[in-house]
Symmetry: D2
């Protein structure tokens, strides 16, 4: 159904390695660069030059592209790969995809007349990633709690992408799920799926009685006053991105067990994450008219 | 928690009658008008004048307010109630809520300086109504199909409010659920909930093999060519509002059993529907500052 | 996988008609008798003599075989078919299956040296039938209740074959499910699946507060004293076989809406029921060594 | 509701410590012995003599009572506690409960005229334990697999207590669940709950294509020939008690990742396990007439 094209996978972790395998399994030619420490992760014949990889029909960069702004995020590479070198190796008009791309790199790409897209900014990737994120939350809760999730009293804060799937999975395992949200429409969904509801604004004084609280809201919603309300032994898992939604200093002072769990998909299910990235890149290429 | 106020319920069916009971049960004073054929549906002492009902803190009109534009939709009333008479009985600034209000009635209310809100236009009501709608679809499917829903092959077309809950409930009963949608983000949700996916654009030639098709999309998506593809015995339930999403003439010619099921909430669960309207009116009054 | 053999289907309703079609679809030769009023239900060429049908490799009789003990249960037949005549038409050693076979007919078969098995007595059929039974209960509840099952408070009495699947489906639709049972092991299952539990012995005084009660226990468990406890509007569905588990006279006196719903599988899903009978007959024939 | 009695908890791990707390929370007097290394696990005032604990209304011994037959299983005790000493400290007629009691200890109790019951042999405990066991299996699978359980292809072997709940939870998380069983009735349940079925006898040649296999059957069902069929990367979790259901030597030779996960409830959910033991002991005492 899809035409065969060439991909260049430059840098990245297990997810990009798996992505390369999946693209090959779909019949595409794949050139990799930056996996020299474990080339077997990708495939047997995968010794390519940066030049080859950088001039494929579509170049795929890591997620995140970089931690700082100078070097590519390439943990399986033996050496350092400068982002400027990678971009310089590409011809004008090159189609490039990367994840969590900072402004600076967009600017660099624009100067070089490259066509750069952030696959991490796509909504379908965020939704698909909610599945491994939710399983990561379940895994942490199972590892940390001395009780079963079945029958446990859980509060999920927020009903966005991850909140929806986390609540769904906890309910499926028999937890007694309450979800807090601010909008009437979200509260209507919460009831329609059979969960109990709390208004975010009215949470004060209502946080006792839970065995587990999972926060998905990227504001300091679990402040010291609220942490003081928690039942002894209540576990808090915060998956909100920086600055997070929980006052970890206060939690430490109060003896509240709190875990900040970021970037779960790549950690708990790298193969699934690679597959999610692949699907998203196909969508980008369909919209660009490169494949059908 | 809520202050006690007065409500005037003027016209409507079982849902408004139940609404009156629920408001009384919450401690509000309720004046009704237009339930003279079965006043016991509402409560014992409910003989009120239009004047009383029309000057309550909040007046509630039916859903739909009217079928034509002259008279109130008041099936439990012995007589005809002109909408103009109802509006004329209200003081300036009166807070009024009604459902599916036509432009003309908004204009009439504006001339009289009434504060009219359409509760049917609220998203939380549409979401909450997806629950009785989905149960209505299940009921029709159980009544019409000679097979169990468990193990049946079902296609749900569209993944909006109703599509989401219909798919959820069918899956919960053991049906093999496929959902068609157009957007990548909807397709990601469909997979995250464990359903099979179809692209709406690529449905042609892929409609055989279903025992049940439920359409929620308000375009003529099930045209003659597609109806010809259906397996013998496949039941079609169309819940899309006018003009509907199915060519009923073609279905009749082809011998396809097709049911156009509209306004299911009021039919299958009038009490739940009354409760949903009540919640929505509370939200409106909270936003207007009438109650907290 | 299965060898092709011949079946004789004598009498019965839509389920046996569908059974005949399914056996043909599996490649077997099928001779029918007793479907003369609507032979098209079975297949086009199905004009057979009793003699032909009665000497097939396996003869299938209806479910129930008979209402009284003289005549075959053959509602699609234009005439009366005496059971004695059917049995007389069979050779010694004939393999025969029927459903709900009374002692008298077993005796008659034994005198004629026929090998008669009751497929309705097989546990796998009872379990499989729990699925259409549960859907029948859902359908009745949806038709009769003015509220949605989602959010409704339901008591299921008994946790045998049907109780298990009824509770599962109601829970799946978002009902708040309580199950009553007598044995500690059943109560442990009830909790493991996430339902609330009640001890059958301790039900007195605890029956208020339900919107729906489904009884599966074939004792008069819902007696007058207990019916008096029910909340106004509580619907009772009794699926216990004769004498039933509910005092219908008392219910009538008390104004309790009570429905005795028997033989649901054949009514709500005759095609599924035919398929279940087919599977069960295959198991019988495997155990007899007729097929592999 | 229950009368207040005295309990003596002698030896055991976190589960017995939690059991002591739960019994106290129910209002019973609890004397403990054998928790000297971490008495705070149980309660503050819990310094008791063996004599006190051994003459309570009901004495509770650990699960398992012993690994060998001489000493009590008392990992939180600083010293060694001989079982003979414990039994000698009890008066004739003493009611004693313990878990996994070997024949020899039953004999010793009988000689001393003690009334000894094995709570681990109770069916309701086995069923209740299926819940933490299933969560333990999910946890291991999430930790070990690089893919999400959602969308994974899983085979559960056996449909007893644990098989039923494991299949239920995996299905709830979106795995594609197949269950193998031998009996027609179990296969009917498997289909009624919406899983795919395999006949245990016909598994040969059908074991490829799974991402995860969970065995619950205590026979060597996963022998070398069958292990050779598995897809690369397929994870095997065996929860069958000794001798287990998997040839671990063969798995090691073949590079199949296989985990033998025993006694999961106490490991993954000691608090829930303590509560399960408490409920079971109440049942025993009810049957003995000690409490109502």
């Amino acid at each position: 159904m899809k035409e065969k094209i060439t991909f260049g996978i430059i840098g990245g972790d297990m997810r990009q390695a798996k992505l390369a395998q999946l693209l090959e399994a779909d019949g595409h030619a794949v050139h990799i660069f930056g996996f020299d420490r474990q080339p077997e992760l990708v495939s047997s014949q995968s010794v390519n030059t940066l030049q080859q990889a950088a001039s494929a029909d579509c170049v795929v960069l890591p997620l995140p592209v970089t931690d700082e702004h100078e070097n590519l995020n390439a943990p399986i590479s033996g050496g350092v790969i400068r982002i400027a070198d990678v971009l310089d190796a590409m011809p004008q008009g090159q189609i490039v995809c990367g994840g969590r791309i900072p402004e600076e790199i967009f600017r660099m790409a624009s100067e070089r007349k490259l066509r750069l897209t952030d696959y991490f900014a796509r909504e379908e990737l965020a939704i698909a990633n909610a599945v491994p994120t939710a399983e990561g939350v379940l895994q942490i809760a199972m590892e940390e709690l001395p009780i079963t999730l079945a029958g446990s009293r859980v509060l999920v804060m927020g009903f966005g992408h991850t909140g929806k799937i986390i609540a769904h999975r906890l309910h499926a395992l028999g937890a007694l799920v309450t979800v807090s949200a601010r909008r009437y429409s979200d509260l209507a969904w919460i009831r329609a799926y059979g969960y109990r509801q709390e208004f975010t604004e009215a949470l004060d004084g209502r946080l006792g009685g839970y065995d587990l609280i999972v926060n998905t809201v990227p504001h300091k919603i679990l402040n010291e006053a609220r942490l003081q309300e928690l039942s002894p032994g209540c576990l808090c898992i915060d998956i909100a991105s920086r600055p997070g939604g929980l006052d970890f200093d206060a939690a430490s002072r109060l003896g509240v067990k709190a875990i900040w769990a970021l970037s779960l998909p790549g950690k708990v299910a790298p193969v699934t994450s690679g597959a999610i990235i692949k699907e998203t890149i196909y969508h980008i290429l369909q919209e660009l008219g490169v494949i059908q």
